[in-house]
Amino acid sequence: DAGVTQSPTHLIKTRGQHVTLRCSPISGHKSVSWYQQVLGQGPQFIFQYYEKEERGRGNFPDRFSARQFPNYSSELNVNALLLGDSALYLCASSLVWATEGYTFGSGTRLTVV
């Protein structure tokens, strides 16, 4: 069975640009969460979606947005990129609206230059 898949795996963007990251959850999982992991630190919570609705939001600026589609896949959008947005962006899926049983993808490595 396929795990959580994220695309692209690597991405280089210029300051001021926008980026869209994609995540496909494990089949049957209805909840998707996004985390940002800066080099040398633990992941930081950005968003959680369940049944296409936002259920939680971390302390990130409005430049960060996300959505979940009817097939439960999700997109994370970041506008007006800053150098500090360079990080590994992780997607995690779970069966229901709960953080138990999280499965993480391998992430998208975003570099802003």
């Binding site: 633990g42 930081q44 919570f45 939680g56 999280y102 391998s106």
Partner: protein
Amino acid sequence: GESVGLHLPTLSVQEGDNSIINCAYSNSASDYFIWYKQESGKGPQFIIDIRSNMDKRQGQRVTVLLNKTVKHLSLQIAATQPGDSAVYFCAEIHQGAQKLVFGQGTRLTINP
């Protein structure tokens, strides 16, 4: 504020020895804790979890201990193997906020 921290950023052990990775948490209201293993280029991988109504839980070669009195969590890995080399994170769950709060991580290195 919320925080989950680690006592040591790096840990080096001999192959075959037992490893102990420690973690301190600050939110006494947290009711669920998870240890994750993260290898280079990969996302965090679930190792073992424990609820706040327990003080010990064992898995295959791993044991998690929870001391709520001093808000301390530890991960014990028995007979450490080269494949155990990774960064280990403890994470705390705030059920009300439905999010994981991760610590900084400990890098475990296995010496042959």
